[in-house]
Subunit: 222 residues, 2 copies
Amino acid sequence: MEKRTPLSRERVLRAAVALADDAGIESLSMRKLAQDLGVVPMALYKHVANKDELLDGMVDVVVGEIDPPVTGTDWKAAVRQRILAARSALQRHSWAAQVIESRTTPTPAVLAYLNSMIGLFREGGLSLDLTHHVMHAMGSRILGFSQELFAAAPAAEPPPAAMAAQLASAFPYVAELATAAAHTADSVVGGGCDDQFEFEFALDLLLEGVERRHRHGWISAQ
Amino acid sequence: MEKRTPLSRERVLRAAVALADDAGIESLSMRKLAQDLGVVPMALYKHVANKDELLDGMVDVVVGEIDPPVTGTDWKAAVRQRILAARSALQRHSWAAQVIESRTTPTPAVLAYLNSMIGLFREGGLSLDLTHHVMHAMGSRILGFSQELFAAAPAAEPPPAAMAAQLASAFPYVAELATAAAHTADSVVGGGCDDQFEFEFALDLLLEGVERRHRHGWISAQ
DNA sequence: ACGGTAGGGTGTACGCCGTACACCTGTCAA
DNA sequence: TTGACAGGTGTACGGCGTACACCCTACCGT
């Protein structure tokens, strides 16, 4: 009987991330996690206070994977690049966006990230006022994800033809848009949109508006 | 012993909405709901298939409260107004945004809403292409809520002064922004931002960008 | 008048969850 | 040697969603 390497907060968090990565966040429970670590459930509580703190720790792991900001460019390019870096970190952990949304208080690691993001705007010369509202306007996009309406199951199979026709006549605009999107996608069947394109489209829309306001010396009417 | 009015899907949904409204979504359970209705938990399952379907139904109730679109204005004003109508419906039910985010498939009522929103853009003359990307870009803002990063507990009391100073030096930009926001708010203590202002700021940023692209005949490079 | 059927409320039970609390055991400092 | 303490264990509690068998009542065609 070999002796296991002892638990540690570090090991617990990494195991939790791994479990969520390949079994999905919905099947991450203290009991399953303990089992993965070859340990009894209550052992975890010597390293994390409770499940909420575990989730906070997992977010910190993901945020820690975000590449640092680039230097030597204008603020807009720097912000754009950092946000895309965050996005790519989040995409390595499909559960992350959902978990981040569920947290109510930022951890220090997240605060540090936000701090550096605010810094990019401020050092780019944006007013405190404008920076403030921009941070709100970007919302979760700052962390690299957009809250799509109905993220839709990954492989939402199309409804049977009969019902599809009925839906199309009830919601003609939706149908028009959906079929157009399906045609331009790589495969006609995988009625998919190009997530990356949509994300950058929205991001650029926002950054462009911010830049215009900045150039025009925008001041909130508050 | 008087006889109760019998259950119905309608009555179940309304009771669920009422319960979530004043006890919070986290304390909405099939058991509590049944208790409110003076009935045994399993009775509910004769009217809703399971808890997910219950939540879908609750979303439909909220969506049903959104005022219809105004007519006789340009698309931008119509969209703006409808979105603000959605926002005011959502605000009457503080749990709604969170629940909507958690759904994976739109209900017919939501599809109808999205359909009419797409219609506003299309009838305003926007191309199918642009409309598509715009719908993505607006994301959940179309339904009247923005996913703020860390919605923060309603009354997040400030940290003790000692720690506040430490935080401020570790995250100077966050601190600068937070104190400025606290000062301009109605009350200095309630470190609040004007949610409505932030929402409209972001909404206008987006709509303005959309209008510019529309006027310039923007076509996706896809 | 009567048996059958079906809709809707009931009771019990299962397997999951997070975690409180008492306990044990090995390590190391004094 | 002792004793404190960090860390793993076992048991148990109260919650959850919901499967399944049951029963009661109202209504139907005969």
